[in-house]
Amino acid sequence: MNEASVAARAAAAATPATRKSTVPTPATPATPTMPTTVSMAQALNSALRDAMRADPAVHVLGEDVGALGGVFRITDGLTAEFGPDRCLDTPLAEAGILGTAVGMAMYGLRPVVEMQFDAFAYPALEQLFSHVAKMRNRTAGRLPLPITVRIPYGGGIGGVEHHSDASEAYYTSTPGLHVVTPATVADAYGLLRASIASDDPVIFLEPKRLYWGKAGFDPAAPVEPIGRAVLRRTGSSAVLITYGPSLPVCLEAAEVAKAEGWDLAVLDLRTLVPFDDETVCRVVRSLGRAVVVHEATGFGGTGAEIAARVTERCFHHLAAPVLRVTGFDIPYPPPMLEHHHLPGVDRILDAVARLQWED
């Protein structure tokens, strides 16, 4: 699969007319050397840099975020530009990193934490569930924690065990967290800026396998805010509801489906919490058929919530049950087998075929 072309197609599919800005106007101009075509990794890097330039309260911390620029280079050059006080290589301890960020936020800073891989955020889950998600609430709004936790997530990059977990369900089922996940280069920039600007804690899930996909991109162009889903492709038969790492495969499936006579819409959720019931239900009601696609395991996955709430709200508009195409209910397999686990075009189209077209 060609990441670049998929991302470009995705970007093209976005509807500019409905876009509006939530990203604060940067106090300093965006990186002047910004090329017009960049990878998602570069867009994330620019978002961090621009956020740090715009607001001295923004601090980055994590493992290897300094000289190395992070194992995915998302923090490349930040220590060089802002110094180690602003972009800090921490000791190797995720609970310590997030707990320290909590204290920094209590003081008034706006920390951006990098977790190196999905599964390596698990040591920090107590801090996340018991403090980050709850602090504003437990202090009656007096101690908000404007922390962004960046987590590269999901598989498809040939990673060994513990490097490919699609762990979003742990976050989406925790009240008090916003959960955001971009699928395009423009969203990577815009949503990360918006997440950092948010006064609430945001779990920012970065689809690893889209890091290197490139697209034309203007950092000054506004994107839809956090909390809005965007239709990446219109269609008249059914809608594929997806997010993050699975957007490209859904767009590809929609392309292939044409040959089978289906005109599939593709909806990119962009934000899992808060959920955009309005947009999702509008699309589902108009089409009557929907498939939710994500690579995380199905049982108890975020797709269950999506299917359940869409059904609750659109029951009489549905011609068929909302189906789910997800990873299997297994620990992430070794890299040589991962393509069998991840939803592919065929598996998605098999589900579309089961949408009871006969009636």
């Binding site: 601090h59 320290t100 602090m135 009656a140």
Partner: protein, 380 residues
């Protein structure tokens, strides 16, 4: 100026053979194995009598606070109370060792330290009364919420202290922990972060001998808990936790060293939990009364009163004044806690996020409708 410049990734000093001298000299980090003690020793004479009287007064008030809170549980006015009875010297000294700009990071057992810092008992006790999670404004009183998940407040103290240092403010953070809490990973990670960042933070472990039912011997095999400091490259100090002036002076020294850029300190205070873990606990299951009796002899207030009278800085009037203030506080607590707490169920939705999500708005509407229906029924 870059605060963390010294951490720049240049060469790796000291790791080529022939250059394996330690990065820090361990000797000054090691605690003296006999705890610092001043009550009953000539050292006490060097203390400011005003400070000693202040400590005494606060101890007496603190004890009464503990007793009154315990009584309130029996009357059902507090849901639960983890008393610091017997540990008042640590509680009071911790509060007094901090300046107004400093931050306290208390655990669930440390409401007396919070009250000693000036927070009204009604606000300090909402968690344990059950009407609200945190009753005070942490920023206003520079006191973090009472922390229940053990040791999780320790990295918060580090982060806050680090941020203040980056901001150029002379703020010190003091984290209160129990002996049991030292076993948690968060304790370790916090101390290591503090040491590496040279953050202005002090960790006070109130070693009261038990984590609920588990005695220290089943918690740690360390010579003392203060010995843990050396593994992080920071100084460890051991102090008699029932000796208020000693705790105060050890903490003050640590706080001032931190403020001056000298980095963190780990202080272990040896004390004892006279009451059960909370009113819900049955301490007879795991310890003998004889043990408690022995510690009652080493009571922080008893020790203090005896020593101060001997030193001639305490007389019957001051003792009476302290007792009166204590009674006044107790009376106020009775009055305040016997009134029913004001509750607003809709507040459950107000502070989940800065702005309620559409989903929360729907749910709030649902609850509001339910409450209206109930009121309707009640009305009829």
């Amino acid at each position: 100026m870059t605060v963390l410049d010294h951490r720049h990734h240049t060469a790796v000093p000291g790791w080529l053979p022939g250059a394996t001298a330690p990065r820090t000299d361990p000797a000054p980090l090691l605690p003296d194995v006999s705890p610092v003690r001043v009550l009953g020793t000539p050292a006490l004479e060097k203390y400011d009598p005003a400070l000693l009287r202040e400590l005494y007064r606060r101890l007496v008030v603190g004890r009464r606070y503990n007793q009154q809170a315990t009584t309130l549980t029996k009357q059902g006015r507090l849901a639960v109370y983890p008393a610091s009875t017997g540990q008042e010297a640590c509680q009071v000294a911790a509060a007094l060792a901090l300046g107004e700009q400093d931050w306290l990071f208390p655990s669930y057992r440390d409401t007396l330290a919070v009250v000693s810092r000036g927070v009204d008992p009604l606000e300090a006790l909402t968690l344990l009364r059950g009407n609200a999670h945190t009753g005070y404004d942490p920023r206003a009183v520079r006191t973090a919420p009472l922390c229940t998940p053990l040791a999780t407040q320790a990295p918060h103290a580090v982060g806050l202290a680090h941020a203040a240092r980056l901001g150029g403010e002379p703020v010190v953070a003091l984290a209160l922990l129990g002996d049991g809490g030292t076993s948690e990973g968060d304790f370790h990670e916090a101390l290591n972060f503090a040491a590496v960042l040279q953050a202005p933070v002090v960790f006070l472990v109130q070693n009261n001998g038990y984590a609920i039912s588990v005695p220290l011997t089943a918690q740690s095999a360390a010579p003392t808990l203060a010995h843990k400091a050396v593994g992080y490259g920071i100084p460890g100090r051991l102090v008699d936790g029932n000796d208020a002036p000693a705790v105060h002076s050890v903490l003050t020294e640590a706080v001032e060293r931190a403020r001056a850029g000298g980095g963190p300190t780990l202080v272990e205070a040896l004390t004892y939990r006279i009451e059960a873990h909370t009113n819900a606990d049955d301490a007879t299951r795991y310890r003998d009364d004889t043990e408690v009796a022995a510690w009652r002899e080493h009571d922080p207030i008893l020790l203090m009163e005896r020593a101060l009278r001997e030193l001639g800085v305490l007389d019957d009037t001051l003792v009476q004044d302290a007792a009166d203030e204590a009674e006044a506080l107790a009376a106020r607590m009775r009055a305040e806690f016997h009134a029913d707490a004001e509750l607003d169920p809709m507040s459950m939705f107000t502070h989940v996020f800065a702005e309620p999500t559409p989903q929360l708005r729907e749910q709030a509407d649902q609850l509001a409708a339910e409450l209206a229906a109930e009121a309707e029924v009640g009305h009829r």
